[in-house]
């Protein structure tokens, strides 16, 4: 499976979690792609933490406005009904329980649902940006990541990298499986098309609850 295929599976599956009227924050990387698969006719509000609700598609060439950007500083457009605000309001939305769902990338998720996604000591220290607030405050935390990196599982027994939050995530979607967390326990709830439960478990270090019947992801 190519990397592109994996990312598409993950983004398409997470788009199925969107509901009408939701306020949703998409992180950079795979999470951003979720916006490409919003079901037709479904109104979802996407927040960009630099101060925008109603982020629209990338403008056509020559139409970019330097003062209307996403959290990476790249030009975006705004949908009808969009609104802008300062960073205190932006994080009030995030921390105050107003954000229905956040979709973030991950480096590790462990069997209690803890996420590490902001640094690899000594190697990569980009800073946490808004990740810690998002995981702390969003009503629902969804992790979009590949199941393994360089042949090593990212669904581990216990995170070895610094945690983003002690609040466990709700859902992890990889190119192999969907895992949901409740009460600090992970359950394998879906497998990707053509992937067996055994293949998922072989690529997973964490102990997961496995129901008798695990349905296939509907993409």
């Amino acid at each position: 499976m190519t990397a592109m295929d994996a990312q598409t599976i993950i983004a398409r599956r997470i788009a199925k979690e969107l509901r009408a009227g939701m306020l949703v924050n998409l992180g950079i990387g795979i999470p951003t792609q979720v916006a490409n698969y919003v079901p037709a006719g479904l109104q979802v509000f996407f927040q960009s933490e630099n101060g925008l609700i109603g982020t629209g598609p990338v403008p056509e060439e020559g139409m970019a406005l330097r003062l209307l950007t996403d959290a990476a500083g790249k030009p975006v457009s705004a949908l009808p009904g969009a609104c802008t605000f300062d960073s205190a309001v932006s994080f009030g939305l995030i921390r105050g329980g107003h954000l229905d769902m956040t979709v973030l990338g991950g480096l590790q998720v462990d069997e209690t649902g803890h996420l590490a996604n902001w640094m690899i000591p000594g190697k990569m220290v980009p800073g946490m940006g808004g990740a810690m607030d998002l995981v702390c405050g969003a009503r629902r935390v969804v992790v979009a990541m590949q199941h393994t990196a360089k042949g090593k599982t990212k669904i581990v027994k216990k995170c070895t990298l610094p945690l983003t939050s002690v609040r466990p995530v709700d859902l992890v979607v990889t190119e192999l499986a969907v895992i949901s967390f409740t009460g600090h326990k992970g359950t394998l709830v879906e497998t990707a098309p053509g992937v067996t439960v055994q293949q998922v478990l072989a690529a997973t270090e964490a102990t997961l609850l496995v129901p008798d019947k695990v349905p296939e992801m509907q993409l």
Binding site: S48, A72, S87, A88, R95, M128, G129, G130, M132, C136
Partner: protein
Amino acid sequence: MQTITLDKAVAMIPNGASLMIGGFMGVGTPERLMDELVRQGRRDLTVIANDNAMPGIGIGKLVSAGLVRKTITSHIGLNPETQKKMIAGSMEVELVPQGTLIERIRAAGYGLGGILTPTGVGTVVEEGKRKIEVDGSEYLLEKPLHADFALVQAFLCDYLGNLTYVLTARNFNPVIAMAAATLIVDAEHIVPVGLIPPDQVVTPAPVVDYVIAHG
């Protein structure tokens, strides 16, 4: 409010000053002030801002010119020079969750003794901080963050100093405007009094110290 030339505004800033600088990945950063700080070669600055932008843009220009001794920020991921200087030990980097950073600045500007946030509880962020329980939930006490100067990019500024901001160039600007001893504003347009409807003023004129004159 006083108008001031760009070079005189930067001449007020001494070496070793702490600066809050508006902007998010360079969007909403007073770019002319960045260029003038580089031209005048101000040194040993402490820069408090959302991020370090990237080389050649906004705060990235100060980093590349070696003017920054310390930065208090939430993200340096798109500025490899800040990361290199941090690893080499030539620049101190204090990483703060974005929502905590803006609230620490707000606390300073609004006269609060700090804020209580759940963000960071149980992570490396809580090291050295007081944990306070309120109604059964744990919070970190995050102290106010002050600065010597706030460098703000506004959209409109009227002759009195009332300010508006635009789209995603707003970000940290109206919050840092309240939190520094001296506020220096660069506005895209300076307009007659009355042109900004009262409801649209975001930063009230009395908090503005200096506005950089145009042309």
